[in-house]
Amino acid sequence: MSSEHRDDVGARLGMWLFLYTEVLLFGGLFILYAIYLHQFEEPFANAAHHLNLTLGTINTVILLTGSYFVAMAVSAVRRNRTRLAVGLLLGGVGTGGVFLFNKYLEWSHEIHNGIYPGSPKLLDLERGEAVFYGLYYVTLGLHGLHVLIGSTLLGILAWWVHTGKVNSERFVALENGGLYWHLVDLVWIFIFPLYYLLL
């Protein structure tokens, strides 16, 4: 690539467009949720009550904390406080890790109880409950995958800040990485009430 060419505005525009596509990806699942909820209010509520609200809440707090770290990291880099920025980014990676660990606890509990896609227990449940759990696993699984990608990205960014590839002069990569992490957070902000709180 001819590296004399640099366009931060273009890079940001590109990232925003990409985030739109991510929103739409989850959008498909939210549409399914809305329509099936409309058909199966009762079964959806029954199934939702069974989910672990405590773990869900903890995970919400964890993700928000992660977003906070990342936002701080951006201003730290702009003020040349490199070590602080690296620490904050690694903190962000940590929140991703804890989130996924909690998810692991939550899911292994469910699976232990026989609630997983295609399980014999689900087939015996009321029509509609199985769909709820299906959506639950697909949506949260996709989100979990995004947490994993996001954490990896934060790790790479921490490395770049450390080596000076990202610095107070050039930080659009960090901003974009941060935006990605905020998106992961934002999607969760929709998932949490829909699956754990509302019904």
Binding site: S2, H5, G14, G28, Q39, G128, L135
Partner: protein, 545 residues
Amino acid sequence: MSTPSVTASDRGFLGDGKYPGIFGWILSTDHKRIGLLYLYSTMTMFIIGVILGLLVRLELIAPGKTIVSADTYNALFTLHGVIMIFLFIIPGIPAAFGNLFLPIHLGARDVSFPRLNLFSWWLYLTGAILAVTSLFTGGGPPDTGWTFYVPFSVQTTTNVTLAVVAVFILGFSSILTGLNFIVTTHRLRAPGIGWGRLTLFVWTLYATAWVQVLATPILGITVALIFLERVLDVGLFDPARGGDPIMYQHLFWIYSHPAVYIMILPGMGVISEIIPVFARKHIFGYWAMALSGLAIAFAGSLVWAHHMFVSGMSDTAILVFSFLTFIVAIPSAIKVFNWVATLYKGSISLEPPLLYALSFIFLFSIGGLTGLILGAAATDIHVTDTDFVVGHFHYVMFGGTGMAFFGALHYWLPKVYGRMYDKRVATWAWGIIFVGFNLLYFSMMVLGLRGMPRRYYDYVPEFTNLNVLATVGSWILAFGLVVMFINLIRGMISGPDAGMNPWGGKTLEWTIPSPPPTENFAEIPVVTTGPYDYSDEVLAPEARR
């Protein structure tokens, strides 16, 4: 970089790779090299797709078993559809010619994200390899049709899982290309190029890019769901568990109808480039052309459910979607009328690119008009899932986008390689293709009207004659394609020097050497007129605008 000379012996970007040999291509971030990579790979897939199509047609030459078993037949039309749609017609014009010429039309040295551009091609290649691999591995080639309708796609033991992974990856590639084009169009226009001076090709690529970015993610999630259904048995579309198979169809068509515009809009852009050049006239209704592209992209996103009139939707929904479908016809008709108006009293030279453009207008109009029959629920219910539908979409996609693609080949390859093909042979090839095409697909439309269902392996003896006609048409068509390709390839390797501007075009690519140098412009141009300014050409006074 030295100032490039204007002879064909100077190989411009073709000769000037960063790495030696093949790596200079597959690792190149030059938009033109990536464009050619796409061109070679989409053409390869097209040829595979044509062979599969010919086999389908050969099987149908007589009732009963002719060459393959019923199962193989299902696999043949599925792979034909998947390859033609996801690997040829969607990436075809935007990824190949868009990459070649979008930056040049903007007066830029490259796209905004050159490395992402290369990554898109690698994704395309991966998707293509997986799609072809799905033929030979797993439980046999997919047999669901390219639409992957549930419940069959979830239950069949054939290699659907791999095929949907391929489609997912291809979708990702398409999104990244679209994203890159949007940002490039916004950020890298040369001084003097306002929105009113974009070429119409760029306008349609821009509209297409938005559709790619906004619709493709839905396809992503849809095929991801098929994948998860098959691997994990989630049951989101399984009525026994409360799921609804119609929901699959909605999700699928929310992408796949707009995808039709990903397929056709860039083709319209190519036609809008070719016509003014060979009529030596300013394009009629520049803004109507530019905005109708956006209008098609927008209105086209609202009409997906016209594919589902017989699926059991409510009557109200049918009425609404039918109405919306008719609305899309308006901007499409605007385009057709404006092309004709541009030709009117132009000083026309019937060179091969223009012949393809004219056949585009003719065939696309037939495709569009038969589309109205499908858009009206009453008539659709009569012909749905018959060969009429297959005839219709081949008129639109092959007669439209396919012809535009061939037109683009004949129009731009002399620029890319600096050499000219044999125009007389090209004209003959065009004629053969045109005859074969109509014989093939018109027969299929008539068959459909008489009740021959699509995707059927066998048929009643009354349908034999028309089926024979269609199959013979497919051979004529294929023969024409062979002549066309051989002529083009020979021309590109050893044709006479084409010079900088063989057609007398006014857009920016004709102001730089053929083949273009690596960074396109020695100096970024400053543009002072619109792209179709023929006011200096000698024309009959009444034709001057």
